[in-house]
């Protein structure tokens, strides 16, 4: 379109120049000289040979005016071999008085052998001894730019068409202006069908107000960095969850609608829901475990289950805020802190498979716990997953058992040892008759000793 307009302007200009040349007054002569000498386009007058070329012509072809404007200069030297036939044909037609297009393109050849694409516009002047006035424009760069633009457009079009995301545009009324294959494939409409529809026809009614609000924000110039989720309905009534982001659609500097990119996230949402459900089940199981479960990271609890509240007497909120090490009795605190902090840094050599320790409840009661710590990856970072169980009752039982054994040992074995000690002293100083009786006494003490030993060590009553 622009090239056509330019051609029309040039033609008008040439007609003006031709008029000036035929009138030959002094004012027009000066005007002609100023305009032509300073023109950016190459201007020439040719009859049987070049009669005139302007400085732009010299620059375009690399020849001096004196070299060109000679009767023996073959103008075909300025035409690239592939365009010579075209130029000859035009010359013949013109000399036969036939009409030839006033504007055409050909490949020009410069003095240094370079080929340039030029567009020429010509006007015949004079009725006898016809001369041609022409104006040439080097369109090589323009053509390269147009080609690059066309290639770029093609690439873009191809990318849009092949994209797995839906890419589309629509006007202020919501009428689709363009849709790519991904959209037609997902929704089951043909491109023609969609181009006769509005975006409101595919967005679920519950999401229309969200859509309109977002579009209003875009029109108001608000930045919409985050994509918005919508439910859309396909031709067959299937629901899709999409994530879409829109931006102003500009044409010649004016906003004419919106272009948008949308991604089908139905499967992702389904997976998220499934994961959430699975996490929910897992959490429910964890919450109801008879053991206390916690996740420790960055010096704080990241998770505690209900049992941890029962064990410690603190609420979940309090536990999540407090220093977890303050729950551990001072006798065990530093040891546990040391291997925990080492494990968090990646050195798990000292982390025990199982550890018994005392802990302090909110009411200052000291109780016994058994912990099984393990190193896990939680939210991308190293953490300690702890499984704790109150073993105070077991410890009390063990303590009672220990006390029973110790007391039994003390109250039975000590007197027996003393009895035997004195018995042996008397034995050495006694007569054979007394010694015989003492031996019976020793035997009786041995029997008692054996019974007690079997009770204490085996839990059995026999000699």
């Amino acid at each position: 379109m622009l090239a056509y307009r330019w051609g029309q302007t040039i033609l008008s200009f040439l007609i003006l120049i031709a008029g000036i040349l035929t009138k030959k007054d002094e004012f027009n002569e000066r005007l002609y000289q100023t305009v032509v000498e300073n023109a950016n386009d190459a201007i020439y007058i040719i009859s049987t040979h070049f009669e005139f070329v302007n400085p732009a012509f010299e620059r375009l072809f690399g020849y001096k005016k004196e070299e060109i404007c000679r009767e023996d200069f073959d103008f075909m030297r300025l035409v690239a071999p592939e365009s010579r036939e075209l130029i000859r044909e035009r010359g013949s037609l013109r000399s036969e008085g036939k009409d030839v297009p006033s504007r055409y393109e050909f490949k020009a050849l410069t003095k240094n052998g370079e080929t340039r694409n030029v567009e020429v516009t010509t006007v015949n002047i004079g009725k006898e001894n016809v001369r041609v006035i022409g104006i040439l424009r080097d369109i090589t760069e323009r053509e390269l730019t147009e080609k690059a633009l066309a290639e770029s457009e093609e690439k873009y079009r191809s990318l849009v068409e092949q994209s797995l995301d839906g890419i589309f545009s629509f006007d202020f009324d919501g009428k689709f202006l363009s849709v790519n294959k991904a959209i037609t494939k997902a929704l089951g409409y043909t491109k023609e069908e969609l181009l006769s529809m509005k975006i409101h026809d595919i967005v679920h009614p519950e999401y229309i107000s969200v859509l309109e609000e977002r579009l209003r924000q875009i029109m108001d110039g608000g930045a919409l960095a985050n994509p918005q989720e919508y439910v859309v309905i396909s031709k067959t009534g299937k629901r899709f969850i999409i994530e879409a982001k829109a931006a102003p659609l500009m044409k010649e500097g004016k906003m004419v609608g919106f272009h948008a990119i949308a991604r089908d996230i139905t499967e992702r949402k389904r997976m998220e829901e499934a994961l959430k459900e699975s996490e929910g089940k897992y959490r429910e199981v964890t919450e109801n475990l008879i053991n206390g479960i916690y996740i420790f990271q960055g010096g704080k609890f990241k998770f505690v289950n209900k049992k941890m509240e029962t064990l410690t007497g603190y609420t979940k909120e309090e536990l999540m805020e407090m220093d977890p090490f303050s729950l551990i009795h001072p006798d065990y605190r530093e040891e546990i802190r040391r291997f925990t902090e080492k494990a968090i840094k990646g050195d798990t050599a000292d982390i025990p498979k199982k550890i018994e320790f005392k802990y302090v409840r909110k009411n200052d009661e000291v109780r016994w716990a058994e912990g099984i710590p393990s190193v896990i990856n939680y939210e991308g970072r190293v953490a300690i997953l702890g499984n704790v169980n109150d073993i105070t009752d077991v410890k009390v039982m063990q303590e009672k058992e220990k006390r029973f054994i110790e007391d039994t040992s003390h109250y039975f074995f000590n007197p027996i040892t003393i009895a035997k000690g004195y018995l042996y002293l008397i034995y050495e100083e006694s007569s054979p008759e007394i010694q015989e009786k003492l031996e019976k006494l020793e035997n009786a003490i041995h029997r008692i000793e054996n019974v007690v030993r079997n009770i204490v060590w085996k839990g059995e009553i026999h000699e």
Binding site: K402, E406, H410, F412, N414, K420, L425, W457
Partner: protein, 127 residues
Amino acid sequence: MSKRILIIEDEADMQELIKIYIAKANLDVKIYSAYTGEEGVKAYKELMEKGEKPDIVIMDLKLPGMDGVEATKKIMKMDKNATIYGFTAFFDTNWADELRKAGAKDVIPRTVGFDGFADRLKKILSQ
């Protein structure tokens, strides 16, 4: 030169029998007696300060107040080179293990009798 033995034992009869059997075994020792854990730790400290540190401590486990494990810990804290032997009826119990962990060289079971104890002492003193 006589060796010094500190016997920490709450039963007077046990103290007496140990002394009798040591005398019977002709061991050249000077015996000090303590009847509680606290008394034993105090006696060890005083002897140390006088430059008469006991060569051997015979430690009972079950003592009124501070038990044998605690008393052993305190003496070891005072003198990491202290030589302490348990002589107890609680042989083969966790408590006896705790005594070893606290620093006792070994635990002599009372089932060996006083002759057995005196023999064992003789061997220790000759080391």
